[in-house]
């Protein structure tokens, strides 16, 4: 059951997805090109009895989000590169304390102040390793306005299910573009909530090791009194440095995500079965890639497939390996100078990968990708073809 079709931008769809997933707290700080999400949440949350606050900076924003989640509310923030950098320490805190929350990064050209109103996909590796120490992360990449809604819902569900922060990595194009969408009725959206403990408070282990690898999470104030700390801790939450407590904890933190890597949003596959060239792309670049493979097939009869990643982290090694199995070359197109490309190279072998990237605030064009696809052809076949793409 869907609601009326509407013409809305990606940022709005993201906010609506959050609300549909049960988000009732937003703390944020204005930053282009994510500001609309904060503004829309400031307007919509109180209508639902939710809470919005504009904090004094991004560090405070993510801190407040974590605090609200501890208080039992599904919580989110939205930012861009510079704010994402600021948030890293507290993101690590949420990972170590296993507190569910969603962080949206509408990526813009960096580094530093960069090009505030131009797109990029330059924070993909930062999402993976931005916070210090060894840790796993989960990150999704919407490519359409509808996906901005859907993957934000998924982000909340996985955050709650696995007790971890989840990133939604949009880029400025997806965030600001407007598309006609028919969003699902919020009541029909499947929502997952954190698991509550079923044992009495005296027996509760907020950081224990159940078979699911995800201990239940009791909110503060409900009768379960426990300690949360960023120090490495035991099952009760008390600081420890004992090897027999720290080592199993590290393993569980990785395992809880790793064992479910096949369940995260799958990549979109197009024409992969008999492809000789595979294009791997995500976010708005995937839209250019789709156009490029259309052109490659129609104009040049090339057998090209597109693997559009929707989950960036954990990196979908299996999906990429399977899609690339019988192809001669893999073209990785992204609005950066090679971040997901590093992962693809690792999985399929460097000699098979050709990168198409740019970090100058302009989208990767279909022609650029087409050139890379055609660069795989032996020189003899390129004679007499169109000279249009000379960029």
């Amino acid at each position: 059951m869907t609601s009326e079709p509407q013409l809305i931008q990606g940022n709005r769809a993201c906010a609506l997805g959050a609300l549909a997933a049960g988000c009732r707290f937003f703390a944020g700080y204005p930053i282009t090109p994510s500001t609309e999400i904060a503004e829309i949440m400031s307007r919509e949350l109180p209508k639902l009895g939710g809470k919005f606050i504009q904090m004094e900076d991004e560090i405070a924003s993510i801190a407040a989000v974590i605090g609200a989640s501890v208080g039992g509310l599904k919580a989110m923030t939205a930012t861009s590169g510079p704010g994402f950098s600021l948030m890293q320490e507290n993101i690590g805190y949420a990972i170590v304390t296993e507190i569910p929350c969603v962080i949206v990064n509408v990526m813009r050209t960096g580094p530093s102040t960069g090009l505030p109103t131009s797109p990029s996909q330059g924070d993909v590796m930062q999402a993976r390793w931005g916070t210090h120490g060894d840790h796993p992360v989960i990150a999704f990449a919407p490519a359409t306005v509808r996906e901005a809604f859907d993957l934000t819902v998924e982000a909340f569900n996985w955050a709650e299910k696995l007790r971890t922060p989840v990133f939604v990595l949009m880029d400025e194009v997806v965030g600001h573009m407007r598309e006609r969408v028919e969003l699902p009725d919020p009541a029909s959206v499947q929502v997952v909530n954190r698991e509550m403990p079923t044992v009495p408070p005296e027996w509760y282990e907020p950081f224990g090791n159940p078979p699911s690898d995800v201990p239940p999470l009791a909110p503060f104030g409900e009768g379960y009194r426990y300690h949360i700390t960023g120090l490495l801790h035991d099952a009760r939450g008390f600081p420890t440095s004992r090897l027999d407590e720290v080592q199993p904890w590290i393993e569980r933190i990785f395992r809880k995500i790793d064992r479910r890597r096949d369940l995260f949003p799958k990549a979109d596959r197009d024409g992969i079965k008999d492809a000789r060239v595979l294009v791997v792309a995500y976010g708005s670049t995937a839209r250019s890639a789709r156009q490029a493979i259309k052109m490659a097939r129609a104009r040049y009869g090339r057998k090209v497939g597109l693997l559009r990643l929707r989950t960036l982290w954990p990196f979908p090694e299996e999906e990429v390996a399977r899609a690339a199995e019988h192809v001669q070359r893999v073209v990785v197109a992204e609005m950066n100078l090679g971040q997901i490309a590093l992962e693809v190279e690792r999985v399929v072998g460097r000699e098979r990968v050709l990168r198409v990237g740019r970090a100058d605030g302009v989208i990767v064009t279909p022609d650029q990708i087409l050139d890379a696809i055609r660069a795989q052809e032996p020189p003899s076949l390129r004679r007499g073809r169109s000279r249009r793409s000379r960029e």
């Binding site: 004094e56 801190a63 609200a68 039992g72």
Partner: protein, 287 residues
């Protein structure tokens, strides 16, 4: 029959390993006792109390207390507390921070929490040093004193915590010391029950780092100094020329003003009742 200070004992986490991490003679334990006694006096339900801390020796306090406790990142305790308080305005949220945690890295969050007048109790244990990391200067380290990062003498002026809190918008501001426990108990009790942003500066000392570097090695000597070097606000007010270098103890501010979570409740009511202001039309079109 209830023992004197029974709450203090009851509210400790007994399945947490004691002894605690603090040095023998440290004043932080006194502040912890003060908070526990306030909870008892105010007859608060343990499940309704949250203690949130930052990083440092003071930050190690919550783990020993049987409430909803959270040990967060350096300087950010008030921001975490703001989120929790907004989610659970019915809970009693007490934040404990050291002088460095609250006023150096946490300075911005300190002034904004005060500006919002959010109903949180902020207890700043001021020992004029970064004790946990070995005695480096803090924003309240006295001029000319020696510290691990000021071996030639500290050249910076200290922050006046209470004036800062008042200027930023807090509705209750008080200072006492870990020597004047009875007064400290009273102030913390008042701060916890105050509806609004309430700050208590609990002046303490660190004999292990600051004391050792500044010829006051014994905790007793430093405790005695707290007694000798402080005067009450009332006494200072009566003097013609109050001495400038004394610790002034008292309640500097206790006013009633609109509290943040209550104001937000009104926002929710407005969003659901009265007509919203006309949608802001921006250059880029309707959102």
């Amino acid at each position: 029959m209830k023992r004197h200070n029974q709450g203090t004992y009851e509210y400790l986490r007994h399945h947490k390993k004691f002894p605690h991490v603090w040095c023998a003679g440290c004043g932080i334990g006194i502040v912890m006792g003060s908070i526990l006694r306030s909870v008892e006096k105010l007859e608060l339900n343990q499940d309704d109390v949250a203690i949130i801390s930052g990083i440092g020796c003071t930050g190690r306090m919550p783990v020993y207390m049987d409430f909803n406790t959270m040990h967060t990142t350096h300087g950010r305790a008030l921001a975490f507390a703001t989120g929790l308080k907004m989610a659970r305005p019915d809970m009693e949220v007490i934040v404990v921070m050291g002088d460095g945690d609250a006023l150096a890295i946490g300075g911005n969050h300190f002034i904004h929490a005060a500006r919002r007048n959010i109903n949180i109790t902020a207890i700043v244990v001021n020992n004029n040093i970064y004790g946990m990391t070995g005695g480096q200067s803090s924003p309240t380290t006295p001029l000319d004193s020696i510290s691990a990062t000021a071996p030639y003498g500290h050249i910076e002026q200290p922050f006046p915590i209470c004036e800062l809190a008042m200027a930023a918008g807090a509705s209750f501001v008080a200072r006492s010391t870990v020597y004047h426990v009875t007064q400290l108990d009273k102030f913390i009790e008042r701060a916890v029950s105050k509806k609004g942003f309430a700050v208590v500066e609990a002046v303490s000392y660190c004999h292990t780092t600051f004391g050792r570097a500044n010829n006051m090695r014994s905790p007793i000597a430093m405790m005695r100094k707290l007694k000798e070097d402080s005067i009450t606000l009332q006494a200072a007010a009566k003097m013609e020329n109050p001495p400038q270098n004394k610790i002034v103890r008292g309640v500097f501010l206790d006013v009633d003003k609109p509290e943040f979570t209550e104001l937000y409740d009104r926002v929710i009511a407005k969003a659901n009742g009265s007509p919203l202001p006309r949608k802001r039309k921006v250059r880029r079109g309707w959102i």
